[in-house]
């Protein structure tokens, strides 16, 4: 990607939105050497540098997606760190955390170092999540201290659960020493085995083996109990079931260090959308029922759910253009997450804009112990510009991802990221 340097730049006429209060303030921002140099009313005339017209846009701390699959190393035909980050910037993200189910698995310092190195010159901060167990086999825990030292920000066997309760307990006991979270793919592998969609009336009608809600909620409950036992921080990934919302609510009420994320597709679609066996609606956890969506919305409203995360999971056209059972789980998400959250959550008044932005900016970084960007003088210019009124249509053939597996193709959305600033670089007015 060609990013311009953020040096001697005037961001004129935008509105800073304060994540805490939701207060809008129309200001100009001068950026020098990647840093926010001055905020206030700046005279354009006589400004000796590039001027970006931000009028009509809101300016927030850079968005972060803490659950993406960048596929590199190993499956560069699906995505690379470079292409995934390009999709991230198009979606308005200045940071991602990438899951370790690569080939080789991100379970050694070398792989963490490789990812950091590959991302070194990009605008997007790439934070590797390392595996909980070696090879994601669910048996022996990884060299967590060393992995953290190299830059791993969390541990997850995402894509697979840690089925053995004793192994998970040890992982939590061990990771507790470093105050780094476990990102928990919750799935009882015995209950879920052979399933391709949610279990319920729709799986009965479509003649498919289902994955019951209990497969997910059982392991959420198990790991809440293990968190109580060990004190470890547990972040529930891609929460999709109503029972899970209740379990997490109770754990939080009890004061346990549990957090949770929800993916936009689990808010947008239900299992009823599977009538045409569209493999672009096949993901794990599967699309659940409208009742689950309602519970997730309630969980968002009541603060049970901390974060929106896309679970961006690229797969090749060939892999998805097959009979339903044969297709892999997962869909693209980076380029559409912001728009879907605006459509499904903000515009429907589930929570306010600044509350939604909090779950897209500060909340994921807080969970991962990362520095929190702020739109303040002296801070790094780590910003996202959003035009809330822009109408746009997602054309997956123009996606910056190397893959095309998105169910959103042709959908029109309102609200779009139109600029990102980070690490001394910026990009604005994306074509996609």
């Amino acid at each position: 990607m060609n990013f311009a340097k953020t040096d001697n730049l005037l961001l004129a006429g935008g509105e800073i939105i304060d994540i805490k209060s939701g207060k809008h303030e129309k200001v100009d921002i001068v950026i020098q050497n990647g840093k926010i140099d001055k905020i206030g009313a700046i005279e354009k005339k006589g400004f000796n540098g590039q001027i970006i017209d931000a009028s009509g846009c809101i300016i927030t701390p850079g968005l972060m997606d803490m659950h993406v699959h960048l596929r590199e190393p190993g499956r560069e035909d699906k995505e690379t760190i470079d292409s995934g980050c390009a999709a991230a910037t198009a979606g308005g993200f200045t940071a991602v955390a990438c899951m370790p189910n690569t080939t080789p698995v991100c379970d050694t310092q070398e792989v963490v170092r490789f990812i950091k190195k590959k991302a070194e010159k990009l605008l997007v901060d790439v934070f590797p999540v390392a595996a909980i167990t070696k090879g994601r086999q669910g048996k022996e825990i990884t060299e967590m201290a060393e992995l953290i030292r190299e830059g791993a920000v969390a541990f997850s066997d995402d894509g697979s659960p840690v089925a053995d309760t004793a192994v998970m307990r040890n992982a939590m006991d061990y990771v507790k020493m470093f105050d780094v979270p476990i990102i928990d793919h919750c799935e009882d592998p015995f209950l879920a085995q052979g399933g391709h969609m949610n279990e319920g009336v729709m799986s009965t009608k479509l003649g498919m083996q289902g994955i019951p809600n209990a497969a997910e909620s059982l392991q959420i409950e198990r790991d809440i109990q293990l968190s109580r036992l060990t004190g470890a921080r547990v972040h529930i990934a891609h929460l999709s079931v109503r029972e899970g919302v209740e379990l997490i609510r109770r754990a939080k009420d009890e004061g346990l260090p549990i957090t949770a994320e929800v993916a936009p597709h689990h808010l947008m679609f239900s299992d009823q959308d599977l009538v045409n066996y569209d493999t672009h609606l096949k993901m794990n956890p599967p699309l659940r029922t409208p009742e689950d969506i309602a519970a997730l919305e309630k969980g968002i409203k009541e603060g049970v759910i901390d974060v929106f995360a896309s679970d961006h999971a690229p797969h090749t056209i060939e892999e998805k253009d097959v009979e339903f059972d044969a297709a892999p789980f997962g869909i693209l998400g980076l380029e559409t997450m912001l728009a879907i959250i605006l459509k499904q959550i903000v515009n429907r008044n589930i929570i306010s804009l600044h509350q939604a932005l909090e779950k897209l900016t500060i909340a994921p970084r807080r969970i991962l112990n990362l520095p929190l960007p702020e739109v303040k003088e002296g801070y790094e210019a780590n910003l996202t510009l959003i035009n809330l009124n822009e109408m746009w249509t997602y054309d997956v053939s123009n996606s910056r991802s190397k893959s095309r597996n998105a169910p959103y193709n042709g959908m029109t959305f309102q609200g779009k990221a139109v600029g990102v600033f980070n690490r001394g670089l910026f990009e604005s007015n994306f074509s996609q």
Partner: protein, 311 residues
């Protein structure tokens, strides 16, 4: 003449008029089967490919005979391995076959929804010969044809489907077709073999066989596969037979004739005893004969050829 859909992917959403038309056509085509030379030229020049990605004897032979009785050119493709293992995708396989200029595809596949997927890959007419545990529409049509022959109508009749409902595409299509035709359907089997939410398909549910027998005018007894027991879905064949096996003694408790059907192949002594399967109340062999007639009807009606002046 034509049906409202150019494919037969299942009986879900197929209107009663279409089902009646298929059954009427099948009844008239059935007369061909007992002629000295049971063959008509109706589908001469039409090429039908039978794509069987799962083992099948009865259904494949039945389709092939139906095609031959109608003078269609037929080609058989049988592969039990998945397309992925063969290194060629299903889409490529069917597009290559279609490039050889064919008209209709009969497909059986272990994955639910595969016939629908084929409609997105090729232009040929697609006939579902069984997709996973989803639907097996020609089986349900032949079951309905056989019951209609017996009773003259399906309306208000009570059909109980007994056994492994969860894994049964025969049940999947029979429930839909029978409900559309105004019959009442009850499914009966151990709770582990009844899929969730099935009541929403408009059927009654019981786990008690005697309740089903007391209620039913006809039984459609499904084959029990041994692997279900191995997966722990019921404790033993012995207990299954004791609880759900259709035996003469069990039927004797009810003072009425209950019509007996089975889609085959039968596990004698497991889901049904021989003296019931071979009794006067059994219409199992008529089902098989009607299978050819029903498949002929479906082929003719979907071929686009006006068969009014034939047969």
């Amino acid at each position: 003449m034509a049906l409202s859909n150019r494919h037969l992917l299942g009986l879900d959403g197929v209107p009663a008029e279409d089902i009646s038309k298929i059954l009427d056509t099948a009844e008239s085509l059935k007369t061909i089967l007992s002629r000295p030379i049971p063959k008509v030229p109706t589908l001469r020049g039409i090429t039908v490919v039978n794509l069987f990605f799962e083992n099948s004897t009865r259904t494949r032979i039945s389709f092939e005979l139906a095609e031959k009785r109608l003078s269609a050119d037929t080609v058989n493709f049988t592969s039990s391995g998945s397309s992925v293992k063969k290194g060629e995708t299903l889409k490529d396989t069917v597009r290559n076959i279609e490039a050889m200029k064919i008209d209709m595809v009969v497909i059986r596949h272990a994955s639910a929804g595969t016939p629908y997927f084929l409609t997105k890959c090729i232009n040929s007419v697609i006939i579902n010969a069984g997709d996973g545990r989803h639907e097996h529409p020609t089986q349900a049509l032949l079951d309905m044809m056989t019951l209609r022959e017996k009773w003259g109508t399906l309306k208000g009749k009570k059909v109980a489907i007994i056994g492994d409902i969860r894994h049964s595409r025969v049940a999947g299509s029979n429930m839909r077709g029978l409900v559309t035709m105004g019959a009442e359907v009850l499914v009966c089997g151990p709770r582990t073999l009844i899929p969730p939410g099935i009541e929403e398909m408009g059927v009654h549910v019981t786990y008690n066989l005697d309740e089903a027998l007391a209620w039913a005018d006809a039984l459609n007894v499904l084959r029990i596969q041994l692997e279900r027991q191995e997966k722990g879905l019921f404790p033993s064949i012995r207990e299954y037979h004791a609880e759900y096996g259709i035996t003469r003694e069990r039927l004797k408790r009810f003072d009425k004739e209950i019509v007996i059907m089975h889609p085959g192949p039968i596990n004698r002594g497991v889901e049904i005893d021989s003296d019931v399967a071979d009794s006067d109340a059994s219409i199992i062999l008529e089902q098989v004969t009607n299978g050819v007639a029903v498949r002929m009807a479906v082929l003719v009606l979907l071929s686009g050829i006006d068969a009014a002046h034939e047969s």
